[in-house]
């Protein structure tokens, strides 16, 4: 039963990623695209954890942690660029 649940969850998360990609492509303004990228980071954490569950390997959490860190840093760097026109002042 668990293997079916994992596959269904993967499908739903993949649909979520596809919707985010659609917003990334059509997003009318730059901030909209940044939101789409931020949400894609979070959804890919979910997808990687699901991959770890599917393969029964506990070491996938490290890549999830890295994605969480990089996602936050890159989102704040993008926002800083929009706010100031410069990343490091």
């Amino acid at each position: 039963m668990l293997s079916y649940a994992i596959i269904i969850a993967c499908g739903l998360t993949f649909c979520a990623l596809a919707l985010n990609a659609w917003r990334l492509i059509i997003g009318p303004t730059t901030p909209d695209r940044i939101i789409a990228v931020d949400t894609m980071y979070i959804n890919s954490i979910a997808l990687i954890i699901l991959l770890g569950l599917y393969q029964g390997s506990a070491s996938y959490y490290e890549s999830a942690l890295l994605i969480a860190l990089l996602g936050f840093v890159s989102t704040s760097a993008f926002c800083k660029y929009l706010l100031r026109g410069d990343i490091i002042e």
Partner: protein, 121 residues
């Protein structure tokens, strides 16, 4: 793994992915920037949180000892998601994105951009 724990893990996985999907539907269909901003905070708190708790339970049973590593990721997401949302909102104000016409109190957005109090001139 007992059948009871298997059901709990499966329900948490399905619930988490449904919440994630609803957050992304919100991101795709909401009409303006500030309403779209509500989607990622939603997806990251409950959606990914449920999936991480499911993974935590699964590997704690599978490996035979307490496994709290996924809890670190959810705590990290809980701390960073509001900060990211705040910065995104500031960027949107600065960029002067279009707002839906039926947004109430639109004058407050201008005050917020100028860092003023609402009763300032």
């Amino acid at each position: 793994m007992s059948i009871f724990l298997e059901i709990v893990v499966s329900v948490l996985l399905i619930l988490g992915s449904i919440v994630t999907l609803i957050g992304s539907i919100g991101l795709a269909k909401f009409p303006d920037y500030f309403t779209r901003l509500h989607a990622p905070t939603k997806a990251s708190t409950v959606g990914v949180g449920c999936i991480l708790i499911a993974s935590m339970i699964f590997f704690s049973v599978e490996l035979g000892h307490v496994n709290l590593k996924e809890a670190l990721i959810s705590i990290f997401l809980l701390i960073t998601a509001p900060v990211a949302a705040h910065m995104l909102a500031k960027a949107g104000l600065h960029y002067k994105v279009n707002m839906e016409d039926n947004t109430q109190n639109q004058h407050l957005a201008k005050k917020a951009y100028l860092h003023q109090s609402p009763d300032d001139e």
